[in-house]
Symmetry: C2
Subunit: 585 residues, 2 copies
């Protein structure tokens, strides 16, 4: 510790919002170089390398092959896939001295695809699984939480290449199993949830989320079955379409001063009471106007119809539309569409064929035969008994409504959903043939015919994993690393001023190092008190803490488990052997 | 081999000028992604990691501590050191989405300096030696020779921090010793030569050059003593200043049609013959006009006076002036200075105090008391017996004259210089206090006084090392890797169609892998002939090649040493044990 390039901080850094960020900075693992850009100090780098090693072992174990693409990439491959445009300002772009366009790779689908195209030409060459552990760049609008969401970060990204869908299924299954083993070894408490596949489509898609209150992802799980999904990926179970023969004709009614759902429901219950049950927000159809911002800069209005008891969930909506961004339509824009009466917009003026010409998509619950109260397109008027499929037809459906605790499970009849938060640590999904089509990756099949290759995509956030593990492994005193990735196995503290203490502590540290253990030895003399040393040791969070101090006179040292807090005294002569046993389990 | 992500190429890539580039591409180690930007395929990455591991071990062994700075760096630290400006267009610059200025780090002096400033405050904390193995970026005007001079490349860069000059000397010596061990282990034939220190000054500076005809660096060594230096760093031994009491007054003479040194010398020997010896080019003083291009864009004329038998060596000149670039002064620019008469320029009109106002620097051989024939600043006229120190004084001296085989050694009386070419693999130098001053890195000394820290800088080109080792270890058939960094220890070829051959080869490969050796097993069946397999094996260059083929019927396999070409037959039953012995030495 007298030589280790580390300085612990007593105070939390001003910009740290989450425990992992606070502790990784305070304990001297990382330092901020710029927003979302971090230096890995010696302790941090050790943990990072341990995480990388576990990931590498599990990837190698399934037969994936490691290579390494550049981070500085030319524009051309990303032009071919159109992502040079669709990335928008989420990536770093630059010119070289000759004016050529480059980007800092945020992800390398194009490069992997082109590498296989360069090297392989036959179905006999496939499947092939390739991966890299490499630095990536994204110009995040809001880098946050230290290395949890940075702008320069390390990812393990793999891709599988197969000729058939069955092959892709097998590649996917192998990676999924490797991920389970990886995250188990890394010491995560995680959930595997259904996820969206992003802009490139694809079929199966699952995320590995580290359970954490500070996570940016919300997922839901069923109280009854094993369903679990990122809220972005929850597919609402639509009721079966019902007939509407018995429904009265739609009728517009004056509903003065009912600009909100709540005021409307009150008005309905007062003026148009129902016999079977009172009106509720879920009986109304709310039409929300938004503007889609396409990556090429064009703007497009969109109307979303959903039950009045639901709100639009921006993340769910954008998850469906990626890479399009969405913003609310403001009054200035609304006034450009004279058919729209603010607060009283109804389906009659919505849809591509309608007066407004605005595309109209509805929540899956708005199935044919459902009856709604909704805007009559006149100030202060609503229409009742408006039946979907009879009185209006939308241009499509969309999963934009918020998902709530207690919602019915989409997968079983009995369960309801409950939500939790997590940090996305891994994402595996079946990318399919999108990139292979775009970049013309074809191989000859058994009959000598050219077939397009199908791909799987498998990512792990490596730097993020360090933060996520810290998030799940700390207490009020500091970090408590799982043994597999800790920066050292044992942290030996020489407590006291007696030279015999230092001599014994150093001898022990040397013995442990000789036995192949990574040891931090706090040899600091002079003004550094035992209290400061203990505090630093707890902050740094090595799994086994050893104190050589007062007990030495009685021939014992103290061994403390950083996780459980359990302490035991061990004879100093047996200490090394004992500790090797503790570490090796 | 049937599964390894590699495809060997029969033909040399069109853009490959040097053997290492040709072979690394043909053998499937690297692929070009953009000019000077390469993908490391599985075989290449294994070699790269082996090189990294050796460097890391030797750095760790001397107590240097590894950390990792970002590659994407904010402008501010580089503004403080003024390098944001002085780098010119040799670096990649970019903006983030908020318009902030960033660069891709070409070197990290500022970051190391600031890290120590952030963490340390006392002389007790020093010395500290920090290093990283990290990706760097330089926007080279002419990236060349594959990964030998790339635009994205990996470097190991270390810095030492000391309070005293003696401390720096000790840090320097430790790193020098570590470099010797590192390069020895990597299998280099290298020279350690004196070098320039670049723009930042500093005192001791040495380069480790891999001896190679394709090297960009020319160095000289003495035929007698142990002097060796990069030509950029050769300091000409100036003759002692002599008196000039016996010299006649300078006299201008008509020398019509003598625009070149050769015509002038002929003219002198014809019209002004000397008794003791004939006139030679070395008796004339040539004044060369150049333009300095400063990083901030300004241009400045400079006159360089040197013996007429010497030429200006652009690299030596720029080595002295870095980061300034130099170009010849063209006629348009020359005409802007009416005092200059092309072809007949003499010292009278040169110098900051002269009619032209152009700064005038001379070769160290132009010492006081030396006599020269030089331009008389009149068309067709030269001046004879012009004595330095009497008739003219320069504004300073400069090492710009070319160095030639046979030149006197600057270090001893007996030897002469001979030149060779090399690839710069490592550079160690005493950086001194330049960055610490610029970034205000001070610590308290023993007396409680703030002192500026002194730094050493120690770099190794890691990706370049792979190419340089390939450059020094190949033959007409392909690569011949030193064992320490080879992508595998043994390459087993199953030669023939007999299933027994494949069975025996696979059993051997499995046994070797079980013994902890890295093995490439060429299991390719079908149309891949034994000849193709042998060719690929020689091209890939693993040190030990094993053929399981025809001899199997007699119970033997063939073991071939890739370097020496020696072959021996080994009983198949003893093969694994024998090979483990060969590999482990």
């Amino acid at each position: 510790m007298s030589q280790l390039f580390v300085r612990t901080l007593r105070d939390d850094p001003a910009d740290a919002e989450v425990p992992s960020h606070r502790l990784l900075v305070r304990a001297g693992y990382v330092r901020r170089a710029a927003p979302g850009i971090y230096t890995w100090l010696p302790l941090g780098l050790r943990v990072l390398r341990n995480v990388e090693a576990i990931i590498r072992e599990e990837m190698d174990a399934i037969g994936a092959q490691e290579l390494s693409f550049p981070a500085l990439l030319p524009r051309e491959p990303y032009e071919a896939s159109n992502r040079w445009t669709t990335y928008g300002n989420g990536i770093f772009r630059l010119h070289d001295r000759k004016g050529g366009d480059y980007l800092l790779g945020p992800t390398h689908e194009e490069m992997f695809t082109l590498a296989v195209k360069d090297m392989y030409s036959s179905y006999k060459d496939l499947p092939v699984w390739l991966y890299q552990i490499q630095t990536k760049y994204r110009d995040e609008a809001r880098p946050r939480a230290g290395v949890l969401r940075g702008r320069e970060f390390i990812m393990k990204d793999s891709y599988s290449f197969d000729t058939t869908d069955e092959g892709l299924d097998a590649s996917y299954a192998a990676h999924r199993a490797a991920y389970v083993r990886t995250f188990d070894r890394l010491g995560f408490d995680y959930a595997i949830v259904k996820a969206t596949s992003g802009a490139m489509g694809g079929s199966r898609s699952e995320e590995f989320l580290a359970k954490a209150d500070v996570g940016e992802d919300t997922y839901v799980r069923c109280t009854h079955c094993d369903y679990a999904a990122n809220v972005e990926a929850v597919a609402v179970r639509a009721p079966a379409a019902s007939g509407y023969d018995d429904a009265p004709a739609a009728h517009a009614e004056e509903t003065p001063e009912t600009p909100t759902i709540a005021t409307l429901v009150d008005h309905l219950n007062e003026k148009f009471p129902r016999e079977d049950r009172p009106w509720a927000a879920g009986d109304t159809l709310k039409n929300v106007l938004v503007v889609l911002k396409h990556p090429d800069g064009t703007r497009e209005p969109l109307a979303i119809g959903l039950p009045g008891d639901r709100d639009v969930d921006q993340k769910r909506l954008e998850g469906q539309l990626e890479p399009i961004e969405v913003e609310a339509m403001d009054d200035v824009e609304l006034r450009k569409h004279p058919a729209l009466v603010k607060g009283y917009i109804g389906p009659e003026v919505l849809g591509e064929e309608s007066a407004s010409g605005i595309r109209y998509v509805v929540d899956p619950r708005v199935v044919d035969g459902t009856r709604w109260v909704t805007g009559a397109n006149l100030p202060g008027s609503h229409v009742l008994d408006l039946v979907a499929g009879r009185d209006f037809t939308a241009d499509g459906t969309i999963e934009a409504a918020d998902v709530r605790d207690g919602d019915a499970c989409p997968n079983c009849e009995e369960g309801t959903l409950e939500s939790a938060r997590g940090i996305e640590m891994g994402h595996i999904f079946q990318l399919g043939r999108w990139f292979a089509e775009a970049l013309d990756l074809k191989v000859l099949d058994e009959s000598g015919k050219l077939v397009t290759v199908t791909m799987g995509s498998y990512g792990i956030g490596v730097t993020r994993a360090v933060a996520a593990i810290a998030e799940g492994n700390h207490d009020e005193h500091g970090l408590c690393w799982p043994r597999a990735i800790a920066p050292a196995a044992v942290h030996v503290v020489a407590a006291g001023k007696d030279p015999a203490v230092f001599a014994a502590a150093e001898r022990l540290a040397t013995e442990l190092a000789g036995a192949g253990l990574d040891v931090i030895y706090d040899d600091r003399a002079g003004k550094v008190s035992p209290g400061v040393k203990f505090k630093d040791a707890e902050l740094i969070g090595v799994p086994t803490l050893v104190t050589v101090g007062r007990g030495l006179a009685d021939g014992v040292i103290e061994v403390k488990d950083r996780h459980t807090g359990e302490r035991e005294e061990v004879a100093v002569d047996d200490a090394a052997a004992h500790l090797v046993g503790v570490v090796r389990g």
